[in-house]
Every structure is written in C-alpha cells, then in structure tokens.
Amino acid sequence: MTHSPGTMPEVVFQTRGLTKVYEMGEVRVHALRGIDLALYSGELVVLLGASGSGKSTLVNILGGLDTATDGEVFYQTQNLTLADDRALTEYRRHHVGFVFQFYNLIPSLTARENVAIVTEIARDPMTPEAALDLVGLGDRRDHFPAQLSGGQQQRVAIARAIAKQPSVLLCDEPTGALDSQTGIIVLEALERVNRELGATTVVITHNAVQAEMAQRVICLSDGRVTDIRRNTAIKAARDLTW
C-alpha cells in the first residue's frame, strides 16, 4: 500500500532504545541492543538479518509475546512495555495476526475450524470462509492439517492470522519450511492480504530476495538496526526467484 503524497503515514509501532537481554544460565545474551524504530500503518516491511541477529526477538516484543529488558515500545498510543499478561493477551486477541515458520495449526481442527477458533473470539472478524477464499483455499476448508501440503497449511495459517482483520500481521520466516515455489504462493497470499486489508505486515526472513517485495527493508545485525531502506522498485511476489 502506498501513501498519497502530502499525508503523513500513521505510526503503528514506535520503539525507543529497545533492549532485550536473555539470561541463559550463566551467560547473558544481548538479543537487542537499543532499537529505535517506527513502523507505519499499512506498510509491508521485511526484517532482514542472519540467524541470531535479533529479528525474531523484535517481532516477539512487537507482537506482545515477550517483554523488553529496557526501552519502550508503543502500539499506537498503548505502551506495551507496561502491559501485563492479561493486557498482552487482549492486545494479541484484537490487533495482531501471527504467521509461524512451522504453521502451528491445530491438528484436530479442520482448516475452517482453525480459522474459526480465532474468529470466534475476535471483535469484527471476516468469516472463516472469506479468509480461506482470500488465500485461495476455499475448496479445502474441511480438510484437516494432515490432509494438506505444507504450503496449504501455511496459507491456512495466514487465513487464520488475517481473519480477525488485525491491524498488524507478523510473519516469522513464513516460507522457512517451504520450497521456493510453494514459498512464492505463500508470499503472494501475504501480498494480497496486505493490499486488500491494509494491515501493517512485518515479514521476517534471512532471504534477501524476499526483501524485494517490501516497501521498506530493515536490516538487523547483532541486535542493532544496521540499515533501513525504502524500496524504489517493489517487485511482485510472483516475480521473485531464489
């Protein structure tokens, strides 16, 4: 989604000096070392970085799954740093959609039910059917995960993430477990929901090619932001190859 010139894009996330230190036994691991960042409404951002660069930690904190050791993070006007578990659950429930590397579908629920389990607790969801149509799986809605391919499972996961009409969609290596051909179909689905629903979409990847479909690319290394660049020529997902 692009912004018409002159209007200031609305800030969805704002972080200041975001720091995360893990105590791993006797070792202290600095996953984030002071991140200052703003993410804007409706944009598609790719977080690029090698394994261990801190990108997952950042997304986990943005998604309300983890809390920072130091610094602040705001979702719109809500200070997530101060939120307790109940508030974070509430936040995830109504504002965030997650897509995981390994899909994390519930094996005992069909595609439609995997979506329904989220829509039933959301405020203003689309129907599970509509969500599945959006990712091109309208004809597989009564299949169980074990009856779906990896790519199909990931698209169900995307449908599940977007069905609540979240304001942010957080995807951690969504193509990490897929071959490139299937991966592109999944990215197309993400591209489409970003365009049609206008959710701020953050895609984590270590695959630089995927960055070409983003409006902005944020590079992380060793817990620091090393580069933020705006793509001048955004590629469509189907034109990517790796």
Binding site: S56, N60, G63, L65, D66, D85, R86, T89, E90, R92, R93, H94, V96, F98, F100, Q101, F102, Y103, N104, L105, I106, P107, S108, L109, T110, E113, N114, A116, I117, V118, E120, I121, A122, F144, P145, A146, R160, A161, K164, D172, A177
Partner: protein, 787 residues
C-alpha cells in the same frame, strides 16, 4: 556410571513429578499387599498356635443331662481322641453400677486345674481354687467392659439363686475368641460375658452332680468328623442331645474364619487394582517419553547401540520407578501390618500375636510389582526399538484426526472448536481414553467396595429392627413355661406389650439334605415379631406349616408347598412331616417360623412358651431389668437396640479411620491417573496450546481445552466407577453369604457421594497443578520449533 545410565537418571529426574505419582500408586498397592498378607499370615499362625497350645476342641455337643459314667463309653467311640465333659449354663448377672440386663455363660472348670481341652490363658489373677464355691474367672473383654479386676464382686443368678461371686482371675479362651450371645449379631461385652467356675460348685447349682450337659472332644487322626458326630448323636440322644457339631460350626471359630476369609479377599483384590493402574500409568508415561525421545533413540542406534541396549535402558527406568514404590510400600506395609496386627490382637483377644514380615511376602510383592511394571511398558519399549534409525530421525508424522461420529450425525453446530478438539482427541485414541476412564473409575470402585458394608448394615438394621423385630427386650426362660408366665410378664410395671414365643430345637430334613436349627413359634397376629415376605411386608404365619427363610429353603432345596421332615430335638423327640407354607426374607440367621400352637402340638409338650418379646416404657427400663433379673426362670434378657447402638459406638472410630485410609488410597489412584494423563496431554499438545495463546486465547480458554478433556474423562469415570464398585460389591456379598448373615447389597447415597467427591477432589488437585504449568507455557519457543 555409563553415559546411557546417566541419561536414564536424568530422564527420571526430568519426569520426577510423574515418576513419583506412579511410584505412589505402586507404593499403595505394595503397602496394602504387604500389610494385609503379613497380617493374614500372622493371624493364621497365631490362631493355629493358640488352638494347639490351648487344645481347642474339634467338636462340641450339648445335652440336657448325661451321667459322667457315659464318658467312658464316649471315649471308646471310634474316631474320638479325647473328651472333656463340662457344665455350662446361661446366667443373669448384676454388676454394681450397671442398670441394663447382663447375661452370661458360665462354664465349669475341673477342680483346681486347667481343663484337658479349651484351656484358659490366665491374664491376671489365677484359676478357681479347689473347693471354692464362690470364685469365678472372667473372660477378659467382659471384665474390661465393666472394669472388673480380681478381688471385685458380682452377683449371678444361678438356677434361680442369688449367688455372690468373687472375681479371682481374668482369662482368655480359644473357645470364646468372639463372645457372642446366641441370637445376637456381634460381641457386646457390656451385656454378655463368658466366665468360669469350679465344677463342683456349678454342678451343685444346676443339679449336675455326677452329670454333665456340655461336651468338647478332639478327633483321632484321620477320623471322619461327620461319622463321629453321627455316632455321638446316637449315643447322646437319650440324654437330650441337641446335636453334636464340628469345629467348623462352632460360633467363635466360624466367625473368625469368616472374617479371615474376607480379609484374604481384600488382600488379593485391592493390591491387584493398584498394580493394574500403576502398570497402565507407566505405559502411558513411558510411551510418551519414548515418543519424545524418538530422535535420541535413533541417534543411539545409529551409533551402534543394539535394540537390547535401548530396551534395557527404558526397562531400567521403569523398574527404578516400580522398585522405588515397592521399597517404600514394603516399609510402609510392614509398619501398617504391625499396627493392624496390634488392632487385631486387641479385637480378637489373642494372648499373643506372632507378627513378622515373611520374606516370601516381600518377594511376592516385588515380583508382582516388577511383572506389572514390565507388562505395562513392554509394548511401548518394543515399538521404540523396532523403529529403523533413519526413520526415527525424521519427525513423527502429524497426528491424523477425523470428524467424530457425533459431529457426522449433524450435531457439529452445537460444539465450538475447542469442544470439537476435545471430542476428536477421544475419537482418535479411544483405547487410551477408555483406559484413563477405567483407571479413574477404579478409585471410585475401591471406595464403594470398601464402604458399601456400612450401607448394607444400615439397611439390614432398618428392615430387621424396624419392621421384623420391633421388641425392646427379649426375655428367655430357662425352660418351656406355662402360658400363665406371659400374663405375669405383661403385668410387670413398665411392660407395654408382651408377645410369647416358643423355640424348639430341630433338625430339618429334605431328601439327603438336613439342617440343624430351631423353629420359632409365634402368635397368629404378631405385633412385635413379624417375619416379612420378599417385598418386606409383614406376612402371616398360617395355622399349619412352616415359614422358612429364603436361604434355609435354598439349603434344604425346598419351595413353598414341599414337605420337610422335622426331627424335634427335645422332649419326646418326635419326627413329623410338615409342609412349607411360605418363605420369609431375613438377613440374619437361618430361622424357621411356625404358628405357636401348631409348634407346641408338634413338640408334644403341651402349650408352653420359651420366652416373650416385650415392648416397654423406656423410662422404667432400669426397674424392669432389675425385676426380671431377679426372676429365677428368666434365663436371659436381651436388648437388641442397645446391642446395635453399642456396636455402632465401638465401630464408629474404626470405621472413620478405615474410610479415611481407603479414601487416601483411592485418592492416590485418582490423582495418579488424572495427573499423569494431564501431564502427557500437556506434553503432547503444549505446542498447540501455546500457539492458541499466541493467537490471543486467554489462559482460561486454553485451559478449557486441556482440562475440559480431563473433566469429561473424570465425569464419565464416576458413573462407571459406581457400576464397577457395585458389581464388585455384589460379587463380594455373594461370596460372603453365610448361615449367620445374608447381607443384601445396598449402596447408600452417602457412599456414592463420598466416592465421587474423592475422585473429584483428586482430579481438582491435578488440574490445579497442571494449570500452573499451563500458565508457564513457552509462547516464543513454539514459534521456532518443528512440530
């Protein structure tokens, strides 16, 4: 320690909560087995030693009066080894400070020495000195109940004469391990006691000089008891013999062996349930562990560990848990056994108890534990070692689910996705769900099996004493008495209503079957003593014919309309064929009823009564008791109500302890099953549940999915447990039917409620523990790990 063993120890540590829960189930089973079996063994050995040391007789006979010289003849009867003649008589007693009726049995002791058979164990004081007329030795429970010690005095009415007696000793006898008043249900040492007096004094009092009315004998090795009894009966018939009987029919011995049999039953069933549950728990826990360690097994095998090595690795882990339970159970069982032994020692009044823990019991317990443990995990371990390493290194294929039957029936719309998850989990692994239910239900069943006796007993009391036996007091005369005595009784102050009865000892015969009992003659329209039919409605005894209790009819193989041969065992000892007019339901004793007039005609001794049932004014009971005790012809005064109340009182505390221990045991099982099932479900599904938390489901919503499943299993288990418990209880009751009791199987609401409550409480505790773990789900971890 080898590396693979170190892995085993750490795995065990990692699953310590579950291992401990399972070890506790083993522990409970082994403790139950060890304590009960060792106590059984101790009781049997003690009883045997007691009988041998104190020369408990093999048989007994009662006669009206037989001359001493008959003894020589009896001694020569083939099959008889030794004989002891005695005088035994019922007495009424006055104990200072105790207003209620007290009856007793006085048995003679040879002058100045122990009897040849049924010797006494003198606890305190001494035996009666030769020639001392007023000395008496009391049975210990009776002495204790009234706090009587050597030197104290009591008064007995011996054959109508007030006789002051001095207590010189307190003793025990193998013959009166259970001192139960004839016609009574349980020992009531405050109101019935056994005592011993010198032969000469007692003989003089009862006109038995140079004669006896009671006989004990031992059998020659290899003698056929039935043949000996028949010979004795023939010999004693003309002296008013009332039928000799063997040790098996001796009330005290019968009672005690019956109790031992029940104890033995429990000692077998209870531990087996525990071991089966423990085996099941080990199975599910180890199966899960192996599933989680699929890749580790593959690596071990890839590096050259054999199937046997891997199998032994898991077998060791399992055995460690089982043996931990067995060791703890043995220690606890030994301790409990010693405690139980002391309880039984006090209860049965053995002079000593040879309690020890036989090595064979420990070996059996350990053997059973090991066997249950290995059987429990055999299949899981076999599956682990069979998997080729290459395959095992790949992740397990995703679980396959289907829509459930209920949903396919079109009921789907009634269930939200979390509920569908619960349903589909059951349908995917129905056997596991069923075994879990079975495991939980067994704890419910154990409680019911242990506690229904109370309900049955209450029911019996209600029926027997609310409908059939409504008298407050039963007065028995020393011998059949003219009907005028009834009016005398009825006119005593405090007596509201008096109803006569006549008891005639008989042997009933039908075809080749026979049974020794007494026929009770009652009035045509009884108000107090009313036999009931199978619908528990009072029935009318017809002017002619017998009404038999159901079990007696069964023993004789007769139905209403058949004829039985009645051999009267007193007076002119007539034999007559009498038709069976009907059957009566009675839970205690094997009685036969007849119209009193008809019975008197049958006995041929004119119209007489043996005693009367009284309804009395309770405010005047003490005076009435004193008056009745003073009457020379009153042999016994019995208050059934008080006996029951006393029994309740003495058993209430024991019952409470027993209920508590049983609840604890059942709780251990329920907790073990629910907790382990929940832990495994959590381990299998933590990823799925964490994903849902990430997607915005609250803790409560996620808990519903996991704990809802357990709640369903628990709620299904409770009615199944009721059914299993009821089935087992009914079978126990069936196995326990004796001539003395025919307990019905009755299950009260309180028992059911307690059983359900224990299961629910155990489930709740497990749920709370699991819920704490659920709150600590790793939300981030699941995003990055493979299913």
């Amino acid at each position: 320690m080898k590396a693979i063993d170190r892995k085993m120890v750490r795995d065990l540590w990692g699953m310590r909560g579950q291992a401990l829960a399972i070890a506790f189930v083993f522990l409970s089973g082994v403790a139950a087995f060890v304590s009960m079996t060792s106590v059984m063994d101790a009781l049997q050995r003690t009883l045997h030693a007691y009988y041998v040391d104190h020369r408990f007789a093999d048989g007994f006979a009662t006669v009206r009066r037989a001359p001493e010289r008959l003894l020589a003849q009896i001694r020569e009867t083939p099959g008889i080894n030794s004989v002891q003649s005695r005088v035994a008589a019922g007495v009424n007693l006055t104990i200072p400070g105790f207003d209620e009726p007290v009856s007793g049995l006085i048995v003679s002791l040879p002058e100045g020495r122990q009897p040849d058979l049924n010797r006494l164990f003198v606890r305190e004081g001494r035996l009666v000195a030769p020639g001392r007329e007023n000395e008496v030795v009391l049975n210990e429970p009776f002495a204790e109940a009234h706090d009587l010690r050597p030197g104290d005095r009591i008064t007995a009415i011996l054959n109508g004469r007030y006789t002051p007696l001095q207590v010189v000793g307190i003793a025990l006898s193998p013959e009166f391990l259970m001192q139960i008043q004839p016609g009574s249900l349980f020992p009531d040492p405050r109101r019935y006691g056994v005592m011993w007096m010198g032969r000469d004094a007692l003989g003089a009092a009862f006109d038995m000089e140079g004669a006896f009315n009671d006989l004990a004998f031992t059998l020659a090795p290899g003698a056929d008891p039935d043949a000996v009894i028949a010979r004795l009966d023939a010999l004693l018939q003309r002296y008013g013999g009332q039928g000799a009987y063997g040790r098996a029919d001796h009330p005290s011995h019968f009672f005690i062996t019956e109790e031992f049999r029940q104890l033995e039953q429990t000692a077998t069933v209870l531990p087996l349930i525990f071991l089966a549950v423990a085996a099941f728990l080990l199975n599910i826990v180890v199966a899960r562990l192996i599933a989680l360690q699929r890749e580790q097994i593959a690596v071990l095998k890839a590096f050259g560990y054999t199937n046997r090595d891997v199998g032994a690795h898991y077998a060791k882990l399992v055995l460690l848990i089982a043996l931990l339970g067995a060791a703890g159970g043995t220690v606890l069982g030994h301790w409990m056994g010693a405690g139980l032994g002391n309880l039984y020692l006090e209860y049965y009044r053995f002079p000593f108890l040879h309690y020890s823990l036989p090595p064979a019991v420990v070996a059996t317990a350990v053997g059973l534990t090991v066997a249950a443990a290995l059987v429990g995990v055999l299949q899981a371990v076999r599956r682990a070692v069979r998997l080729p390493p290459a395959e095992a290194m790949r992740p397990a294929p995703p679980a396959v689910y289907r829509t459930t039957l209920v949903e396919r029936l079109g009921l789907q719309r009634f269930f939200d996705p979390p509920t569908r998850m619960i349903l589909r989990n059951f349908e995917r692994r129905p056997l596991k769900a069923f075994l879990t239910i079975l495991g939980i239900s067994s704890s419910c069943a154990i409680l019911i099996m242990g506690l229904f006796f109370g309900d049955s007993f209450d029911y019996v009391t209600r029926v027997q004493f609310g409908i059939a036996q409504r008298e407050n007091l039963t007065v028995t005369f020393t011998e059949p008495t003219s009907t005028a005595a009834l009016y005398e009784l009825a006119s005593l102050p405090g007596v509201l209503h008096a109803e006569p009865f006549r008891t005639v000892p008989v042997r009933l015969r039908h075809a080749h079957r026979s049974y020794q009992t007494a026929i009770e003659g009652i009035t045509a329209a009884p108000y107090l003593r009313r036999p009931v039919d199978i619908d528990l409605q009072p029935l009318t005894v017809p002017p002619e014919g017998l009404v038999l209790t159901e079990r007696l009819a069964q023993i004789l193989g007769v139905q209403a309309g058949d004829e039985v041969l009645v051999e009267v065992q007193e007076g002119r000892r007539r034999t007559r064929a009498v038709p069976v007019a009907g059957l009566t339901r009675q839970f205690i004793g094997l009685a036969a009823y007849m119209d009193m007039a008809a019975l008197n005609r049958l006995a041929g001794m004119g119209q007489a009564l043996s005693g009367a049932y009284l309804m009395i004014d309770k405010d005047r009971e003490a005076d009435l008791t004193r008056t009745l005790t003073d009457r020379p012809r009153v042999a016994a005064i019995m208050s059934r109500e008080r006996a029951i109340a006393a029994f309740r009182e003495t058993t209430a505390k024991t019952m409470l302890t027993y209920t508590f221990i049983l609840s604890l045991f059942a709780g251990v099982i329920a907790f073990g099953v629910v907790y382990n099932s929940a832990r495994i479900s959590l381990s299998e599904r933590d990823r799925e549940l964490a994903s849902l938390r990430v997607l915005g489901l609250t803790r409560g919503e996620v808990a519903y999915i996991l704990l809802g499943e357990l709640a369903v299993l628990t709620l299904l288990a409770i009615p199944l447990g009721f059914l299993l418990g009821a089935g087992a209880g009914a079978a126990m009751v069936q196995a326990m039917q004796t001539d003395m009791y025919q307990l019905p199987f009755v299950l009260g609401r309180r028992t059911l409620a307690l059983a359900a409550a224990v299961v629910l409480a155990a489930a709740l505790v497990s749920a709370l523990i699991i819920n704490r773990r659920l709150n600590r789900l790793d939300l981030i971890g699941v995003l990055k790990t493979r299913a």
